[in-house]
């Protein structure tokens, strides 16, 4: 029965296993595949000559569930996709349904949404930085990152009572008014935060080992990144200036000034630098926004029962991981006919095989880390 160990045959060039080759199964239970990702690696020594990602271990049928819930009922479910950035998921869904209804949230609601979403981006990037550094062997940054992230989660908790799967927004605006100390809390977090980012950079950026482990690893050229439909920091690190916050402004992003950081080489190091810079930019957006939160209502006129007219809509936002899109088809009833979600993690993950070929086993975890995937979102 020993010959039952058939190599995986999805790649045309990997049907036969050479004498020096082994197949290493990484995951779904593995410390650094960021969840239940399973990667089958074909190795020559330590060199990766082929790979295949097996996904679906966390499939919960989120899109199917949507068809049996009303528009309002489905909103909390999207928080469970990218559970590291639940606020962003909620924003995308609420805005998509608002677009379908032809309604718009009031300005005050949009500004508060922007602040919370940018805080969520910082939190997500912090979590990414900590785990990515941990994968590459630096143990300590994780705890500093989680310390900072905790501050953000506390703001969420004060705002809506939840920390992780927040369900912070409602279709048409917000349910909760910002609490009394909201601006102060955000400012207290943001003011010293650039120093904190410098601190992480001082641990990693100049470190010879870190640079050696990330420079030239997992290169994705601009053309390849576009071909793979990569988005978010992954495509920006390849030098493509594509950010939906600028390209198709939503929420209140058109009110604020910020830069789109881009890389040059599209390697793991550039993706790291891009995300570090994005945290600084998010901080600037938050600081600009809390200066002047306009007064006014927080809930638009959408009615108690949501019955969008028949039709379809696609709305995408720049989630921390990339373009998060919702395609919603309405048949005029209270339940969506179909909800299709474009998860940035899944699309970015498709570039994995391209990026890993020719690298070593140790780079596998570096590349999985640099793609910043969340399996809840990949599998939905």
């Amino acid at each position: 029965m020993a010959d039952q160990r058939v190599p995986f045959a999805t790649h045309a060039d990997s049907t036969v296993l050479g004498a020096d080759e082994i197949v290493l199964n990484m995951g779904p239970q593995h410390p650094s595949t960021h969840g239940v990702l399973r990667v089958k690696l074909r190795l020559d020594g330590e060199k990766v000559i082929g790979s295949e990602c097996v996904i679906g271990y966390l499939h919960r049928g989120v899109e199917k569930i949507a068809e049996h819930r009303t528009y309002t009922q489905f909103a909390p479910y999207v928080d469970r996709m990218d559970y590291v950035a639940a606020v962003s998921n909620g924003l995308g869904y609420c805005e998509a349904v608002e677009k379908l209804l032809g309604a718009e949230a009031p300005l005050r609601a949009r500004v508060i949404r922007t602040i919370l979403t940018e805080l969520q981006r910082i939190a997500s990037h912090l979590f990414w930085l900590g785990t990515h550094a941990l994968d590459i062997g630096a143990l300590t940054p994780l705890f500093y990152c989680l310390r900072e992230r905790e501050e953000i989660l506390k703001i969420f908790e004060k705002y809506c009572g939840a920390r992780l799967t927040t369900h912070a927004f409602r279709i048409g605006g917000l349910q909760y008014e910002a609490y009394d100390e909201f601006e102060k809390d955000v400012e207290r977090f943001c003011k010293p935060f650039d120093k904190r980012v410098d601190e992480y950079e001082s641990l990693l950026t100049g470190n010879r080992i870190w640079v050696g482990r990330t420079k030239g690893i997992g290169i994705l050229t601009a053309k390849e990144a576009i071909d793979y439909a990569a988005s978010g920091p992954v495509i920006r690190a390849s030098g493509v200036k594509w950010d939906i916050r600028k390209a198709m402004p939503y929420a209140a992003y058109d009110l604020y000034k910020f830069e789109i950081p881009t890389g040059k080489n599209g390697d793991t190091f550039d993706r790291y630098i891009v995300r570090m810079e994005e945290m600084r930019q998010s901080r600037l957006i938050c600081l600009q926004a809390i200066e002047n939160i306009p007064a006014g209502p927080i809930m638009g006129k959408v009615g108690k029962v949501l019955k969008p007219p028949p039709g379809e809509v696609y709305h995408a936002i720049e989630a921390p991981k990339g373009e998060l899109g919702y395609y919603i088809v309405s048949d005029g009833t209270t339940q969506p006919y179909r909800v299709r979600i474009r998860p940035p993690s899944l699309i970015n993950l498709e570039a994995f095989d391209k990026m890993i070929r020719g690298h070593l086993v140790a780079d596998v975890v570096a590349i999985i880390g640099t793609l910043d995937i969340v399996l809840g979102e990949v599998d939905r």
Binding site: V23, T140, N207, I209, G216, I219
Partner: protein
């Protein structure tokens, strides 16, 4: 029967030392783990173990008990005999290597005239435990871990050996006791005569003990646990014990060779004799902290345990102080060499291990090819140059009458220049030979 009594009478000191090593070393290893966790917690803005005993002081004992009563799993596909014996090889090699180390002038099992050679040889055997364990597990992770380990140890053993050779040339002997005596005669520790050698030994010893940033054989984020992946329970604990024993061994070698062994800092200078009181003062400080923290413990038993720990430390401080206070020439005063020697030796070993931990929590992990490049293209050439440099310095000193203060700094500067050249060359090569995908 008579011969047995004869044997015991002749070798009772050695036997006691051996029993102490075998019985106490696991405990020491446990407490090094606790220290590591506490140091890690300190660097990572958290508390570390706090539940078992005051400040987690009984955590190692709880861990050991847990590991003892865990189910003993041997995978079906494993080669059972080898799987069974591999961890034992590692532990035995680690413990045997302790036998010629002199922890203070009193505590040594055997003062072999080939002492260091023996230690290096025996501790190199430990790698068999790792390779066999990885191979017999019949798992890909274990196999890769074992392969990495074998390659890494072979490479870095060379560099470490050459670093040791440099210090041996200064000492002119392999016996641990005499190496320390020579440093006493020189009036300077060899770390100051051969700083480059010390640096090479530090790097190589980290790699040899599979510690971060060279912990590739058990890189938890890549190979799960490397060669130990399939091990659990007490067998796993044996591997752990071997790893920490090896840390103590390399730290002891470094202390003996480069840091003056059991010598007090400025051992020959009368003006610094007040340093003799440092051990007692240090321990009294620690005891004072224990008493300060004791009332703040949440549970009564923890208060009592912490107070008892403080009392024990005071006792040790008093024992260390007694020879200094006793009248000269008395029996108590003669105990100074043994007691204080052991203290200074263990303090230096502790600081060396602390350095290991500090590096571990600061640096990311090397990749395998980078590790090999560092070993073969930088450390080994540098260690050879270092040996030549020390040779030149010795010739200048002994045959041309140069003083220490000119000969050694000169050759050290030359060696550092070579190191710079090597690093520059390595950088250049890295740029041209970076392995990048798409060749498969």
């Amino acid at each position: 029967m008579h011969s047995l009594i004869d044997f015991l009478l002749t070798y009772w000191v050695q036997l006691v030392c051996a029993v102490i090593i075998v019985a106490v070393l696991p405990l020491v290893a446990g407490y090094i783990v606790l220290m590591e966790r506490k140091v890690m917690a300190d660097m990572q803005a958290r508390l570390g173990p706090m539940r078992v005993g005051p400040h987690g002081l009984l955590q190692p004992i709880a861990d050991a008990l847990k590991l003892l009563i865990k189910e003993d799993i041997i995978p079906d596909e494993a080669d059972k005999a080898i799987f069974w014996v591999a961890p034992l090889i590692s532990v035995t090699a680690g413990m045997l290597a302790m036998s010629t180390l002199a922890i203070g002038p009193w505590f040594q099992i055997a003062d072999l005239n080939i002492g260091l050679l023996f230690i290096v040889g025996i501790s190199a055997l430990g790698i068999f435990g790792i390779v066999l364990g990885g191979w017999s597990s019949n798992s890909h992770y274990s196999l890769l871990g074992a392969l990495r380990s074998a390659a890494q140890l072979v490479s870095y053993e060379t560099a470490a050996g050459m670093a040791i050779v440099g210090a041996l040339m200064l000492a002119g002997t392999l016996s641990t006791r005499e190496i320390i005596a020579t440093q006493n005669d020189y009036g300077v520790w060899f770390v100051f005569a051969a700083p480059v050698g010390f640096f090479i030994y530090v790097v190589a010893s980290i790699a040899e003990t599979n510690r971060a940033p060279f912990d590739l054989p058990e890189a938890e984020s890549e190979l799960v646990a490397g060669y130990m992946t399939e091990y659990s329970g007490f067998r796993w604990a044996l591997y752990f014990l071997a790893e920490y024993t090896n840390m103590v061994v390399v730290a002891s070698i470094a202390t003996t060779l480069f840091l003056g062994g059991w010598l007090r800092p400025f051992a020959g200078t009368r003006a610094f004799n007040f340093l003799d009181f440092l051990p007692s003062v240090l321990l009294l400080g620690v005891a004072g902290y224990c008493f300060y923290r004791a009332p703040k413990q949440p549970v009564k038993i923890q208060k009592m345990v912490l107070a008892a720990v403080g009392a024990m430390i005071i006792l040790v401080a008093l024992i260390l102080a007694a020879p200094l206070l006793a009248p000269a020439g008395s029996f108590v005063a003669s105990m100074k060499a043994g007691l204080h020697g052991a203290f200074w030796f263990l303090l230096k070993v502790g600081l060396y291990i602390y350095l290991f931990m500090w590096l571990r929590f600061t640096f990311p992990r090397y990749r395998f090819d980078q590790l090999m490049r560092l070993g073969w293209q930088f450390l080994i050439p540098l260690s050879i140059v270092n040996v030549m440099g020390i040779g030149v310095a010795l010739v200048l000193h002994r045959h041309f009458g140069w003083s220490h203060w000119t000969a050694f700094p000169l050759t050290t500067i030359l060696t550092l220049a070579v190191a710079g050249l090597l690093a520059a060359a390595g950088e250049k090569q890295e740029k041209t030979h970076a392995i990048v995908g798409e060749e498969a």
